[in-house]
């Protein structure tokens, strides 16, 4: 044996320490760290416990309809129990939502956004790549939202496709659906409904649609997203919310803490009023 790690034992309860359970215990029941080195080319990783949990929203947001297999999808039946577990677990102190989504089911997206907005633990969202359409309410649902400087968000109108009964009620329903989304976004960000609808109805920006693509800083300037930043600033914000006394250790230029705290309490007050 090359390396002796006394902490490793073959009699570990798999429910307690899943990382140490061999992948195929019928063949590898005698597995030791050196075997791990041989099989995976690396040493057994130290047991890491993280108090910040991450939810990635990737591809389409899948709701009532099962997406065909060529779509990469985030399923709400996976995400919602995870969010409930994060809220309930005493070991988890904060949640980070990382978005790179093209949109998807309106009701599933709003459900995820509402559950993030109503969590009591500090939440932060980070838009990387793209956070389009129904990804927008999920991005603004967190206590503080960040966008990377190259990420984009497409704001365009909701529309009905397929066979539509051409009556007034269909259009009223469509408008109601759009208002649900617009209201959520304006209530959880600094953009006004008027400005959001203006972006939504802009022509000349998209080749096959009306609407606007906002990039990084543009999303912050219109009030949709709180700050341009990356993993460092998002993590620093979460840490500052988990341990408020650590706020002095934050790097300068990574966000104005006084404004952060005020923003946070404003959102919380709003949630209490609802």
């Amino acid at each position: 044996m090359l390396i002796d790690i006394p902490a490793f034992s073959n009699e570990i309860n798999p429910d307690v320490m899943p990382e140490n359970e061999p992948a195929d215990d019928s063949q590898n029941s005698q597995e030791e760290p050196a075997d791990n080195l041989e099989q995976y080319g690396e040493l057994m990783l130290p047991k890491v416990t993280s108090d910040i949990h991450v939810i990635t929203v990737i591809g389409q947001i899948e709701g009532h309809l099962v997406m065909p297999s060529q779509n990469k999808a985030t399923k709400y039946e996976h995400v919602i129990p995870q969010l409930v577990a994060v809220e309930q677990s005493p070991d988890i102190k904060g949640l980070m939502v990382i978005l790179n989504t093209v949109g998807g089911d309106v009701e599933a997206g709003l459900a995820i956004a509402e559950i993030i907005a109503s969590m009591t633990k500090p939440t932060v969202s980070l838009v990387l790549g793209g956070g389009h359409s129904i990804g927008v309410p999920i991005a603004v649902a967190a206590d503080r939202s960040f966008i990377s400087s190259t990420a984009t968000m497409t704001i365009h109108p909701i529309r009905l496709t397929g066979m539509v009964v051409g009556v007034q009620q269909s259009f009223d329903y469509l408008e109601k659906m759009q208002d649900r989304v617009v209201n959520f976004i304006t209530e959880h960000s600094n953009i006004s409904a008027r400005e959001f609808k203006r972006l939504m109805m802009t022509t000349g920006e998209l080749a096959r649609d009306v609407g606007t693509v906002v990039v990084g800083k543009g999303a912050v300037e219109c009030g949709l997203i709180d700050e341009v930043g990356g993993l460092d600033s998002a993590m620093a914000y979460l840490r500052s919310q988990i341990n408020p006394q650590d706020k002095d250790t934050m790097e300068p230029g990574k966000g104005d803490m006084a404004r952060d705290l005020e923003h946070h309490s404003r959102k919380r007050n709003f949630q209490r009023r609802r």
Binding site: E19, E21, K47, S50, V66, P68, L95, G104, M177, D209
Partner: protein, 72 residues
């Protein structure tokens, strides 16, 4: 209702019921975590993705996508 930048005819251009690939995907509990696996023959399965919020789980090679596992 779908609100996406991908046109609906592209989203639903494949088999609406999921196709052959999706039929073989199954969510199972493995080592106390939920994983999405592609079922193989004779109780074997290949991990497609790990469904966890704990970033530490993703460090474990046990759960890396492509790993063959034995499900009973």
């Amino acid at each position: 209702m779908i609100w996406s930048i991908i046109p609906e005819n592209v989203i639903f251009s494949g088999d609406v019921n999921g196709g052959v690939d999706n039929e073989k995907l199954q969510q199972v509990d493995y080592l106390g975590k939920k994983v999405l696996v592609r079922l193989g023959t004779n109780r074997s399965a290949q991990i497609v993705s790990l469904l966890s919020t704990d970033p530490a789980d993703f460090l474990s090679p046990r759960f890396s996508p492509g790993t063959q596992i034995d499900i009973r």
